[in-house]
Amino acid sequence: MVENSPAPLPERAIYGFVLFLGSQFGFMLYLVWAYVPESWLFSLGLTYWPQKYWAVALPVYLLVTLGIGYVLLFGINMMSTAPLNSMHTITDNFAKNQQQKKSQEEAIPALRDIPISEVNQMFFLADKGICNRN
């Protein structure tokens, strides 16, 4: 079994350097395409470029997506919160299927989900002197 560890390895160093070179080259290419006038590029023989409109449009699209992404993430979080009348606030499949082992003497009881009725009785029906609630 291969162990996953974040330690530096020679392969990772090579990947990192290739990524660095590639991103620098890509950025230089983008600057050249955006700033150098078309006539100069044509005179060099490089004629098949996208329209320069996209050199401005694509960053604007990215920034708007980033802004909408904040709002969208907030909204998705709110939508996936369980409503107050849903069963997910009380229990779930793991708790329903847990085993009811009998606790042995002198042994630590097995870890299990305590039903909400018991929790409520412990908190709210016990004498006030014992629990310190805010």
Binding site: M87, T91, N120, F123
Partner: protein, 190 residues
Amino acid sequence: MEEGMYRAVSGGRIALQRRQYSASCREFSVRCPRLQLRSLSAATCSVWLAAYGLFVLSQNSMVLSAAIFITLIGLIVYLHFVKIDQESLLVIGSLGIQMTSSYASGKENTTFIEMSQVKDVVINEAIYMQKVIYYLCILLQDPREPHGVSEVVPLFQSSKPRLDCLVEVYRSCQEILEQRKTSDFTRTLN
């Protein structure tokens, strides 16, 4: 009959009224504050000022009539469908639990749950908007399968009392529900 002033989750004041009709029958009513004149006039003034601003810009007098119409219809809809005046819970030990919501326009919504369907009344915590709130809820069970919760019915949804008020109601309800358990036990013995 006892009455106490408490606070809602949003910070507004609510009143809890407890009545005991017999040993196994109790009623709890939570009353929300009535619609304030100052908030009503603030809303009306802002809508009408906005409409007047639109009228000055567009010189179309239909905007003013539309604003008056919208304000009236909006107020009626709000009072009839949104603004809840009082929510009450009637627990009858041998029969069931009845929840009533009465709106500001006089409309009343009633729901009744039979006692054999009620597993327990608990205080649950859940995430609501950007807060975690305590709310009282009835756990329903299938009468044929008494060891599972089939549904959760939240109570006092519009008034949303805070924990101190909920604990009072919870303790009273548990006293009644315990009588049900002892009466079940004596019935199965006989």
